[in-house]
Amino acid sequence: MTLLILLSVSFIAAVVLAFVGDRKFAHEINILGSAATFIAGIGLAIEVYMNGPMVAGGKFFFVDAFNVYLAVLTSFVSMTTAVFSRRYMRWEREHGRVGHWGMRFYHAMFQLFIFAMLLALLTNNVGVLWIAMELATLSTVLLVSLYRTPTAIEAAWKYFILCGVGIALALFGTVLLYFAAEKVLGEGGEALLWTNLSQVSDKLEPTVLSLAFVFLMVGYGTKVGLAPLHNWLPDAHSEGPTPISAVLSGLLLNIALYALVRCKVLVDGATGTHQAGYIMMGFGLLSILVAAFSLLRQKDIKRMFAYSSIEHMGIATFAFGLGGQIATFGALLHMLVHSLTKSSIFFTAGHASQMHRTQEMDKIKGLLRGNPLVGWGLMFGVMAIVGMPPFGVFVSEFLILTATMKDAPLLTPLLLIGLGVAFAALFRRVQPMVAGIIPANQHPLKAAHIPVILHMALVLIIGLYMPSFLAEWFHTAVELLK
């Protein structure tokens, strides 16, 4: 029941907001809808915490420790993003960057996007998972081109085409998966249900599944933003409105990785080898290195943090590929803290570029004096994302690094080079932006405080003390993914 509420709230909110359009209170309805989704998410989490994994809606939905925390995270970040977008998008509207229809579209699609992500997380059907992923792409494509500038349209077109093709290959992988499953489970919808598949995964035909995994890896990997399939990501994240960058980076990449990991479990069960893991490790490591060295060359603030997202998704993919208790635990934690930190960074980066009327980092200066919250928010955000203690990213990266040293010691230097270069690249850039006197091109701005403070506080708390329920979920999830 809670599950149904969780899903339907965002869908209803999307419809309502399509009718409300550009009216003044549209922002508040957006916040209200996302807050209701979040509350339902908490409710679901408590239910699962009390009663364990559950299957609902005629086996159509399925909640376990792995997806419930992502569902709560998704609804939480979308709520804080809605709070942030109230001030941010009002400013954009007042400065004429978005029109009347643009705002109507923005709100409706924002909620539809959340709906698609939650559906992808909670569905038990691997085919429906694919459909929801595609819906999540489609609902954000036109949001990326919201500003109608030539670069925005180019970015959106790239996003549409590349992710469209990528996800099409994932569908081919799903067809192959169904082909193998049908032999064991018989024809019909039952054969694509994850709960059934995971029970018989050792009976699935290994050759078919390893072929399927190549397609699924390339397909969902495109959406995760793994190198060399990452070309769409920096463009889409830098050209779209900042709240969309925040949810794309903080949530959508996670969901795509979730889909990939779910498929990996089945392939591992069927092949009995570590082959899928090696493929993921390769893609992950390549992404870390490509992103780290690309970070050095960035001039656009949002583009830079988009590359940082590629790096962090690479780290999580690598860790899932590595497998083992510590690495998987680290990867799950990394998805959580990266999502919180990165969306907070995008909030502050968005405000910073509004204050300076540009996204070029050379022209952004004196943030600490101009707007302490934005300045400190960005500073702490970057400190957290590069993996400095005491923030949560440090913990997850430390765990992953430890596991790498144990299981794949030869790869440790590569991983460390990636982390080190990313650290240097980001720090070199953030210092001049936050320090210094207020430049002439800076304008005062009423920034959204609460989301940034909330996110950073959570990342700090997770870094210092892991709540027991979270640790318990992660441990259960680690068992599931073994």
Partner: protein
Amino acid sequence: MSINLAAQVNSIMAALILLTSFGLLVQRRMYGLLHLFAWQGLFLSVSTAIVGYVSGAHHLYISSILTLTLKVVLIPYILHFLMRQLHIHKEVEQLVNVPTTMLIGIALVIFSYYLTAPIRELSTLVTRSTLAVALATVMLGLLMMITRRHAVTQIIGFLALENGLFFAATSATYGMPLVVELGVALDILIAAFIFGIFFFQIRTTFDSLDVEQMTQLKEED
């Protein structure tokens, strides 16, 4: 209709789908592309219906009707409408290296046969031999999207790729579960509306639908 005959008719349909794929790869004229795409949809729909008849999997009839309405009627109609609105229906696209493209296409078909060989051995379905054609259609659609520079052509390549996926689903497994097929069809329909809006956005911003002009976003050195 005996199973043997049906399998042969299905193979002919597969051959025709492959033929239209190659046709799409080198067709210069916009209307020509549209017609070829509609024909491909029709062959796909007929093939799905035949498989549905032979296998007794009656949900394939629904899938077949879905393909017919979506890929043969609705999307070509939308594209036709857009081409008229944007005055590009008489445009002729410049193509380079047609022979090379064809050769790569042939290589892709052989590669598809190689890749699907283990699956063909495992399968007991009458349609198993057409799976390679389905994968080839997917790859040729991909090739078309890479080699072509026009926004409309790229979209047709994308839709041809989706045709290949539907075909793969029917030939490998007698179709995906109905809920999945319906969802995929819905996604394609939404995508059709989105690229419609896109064409207008690209046209008003860039003055033409040549995606070659979209090269502003890249890493500066």
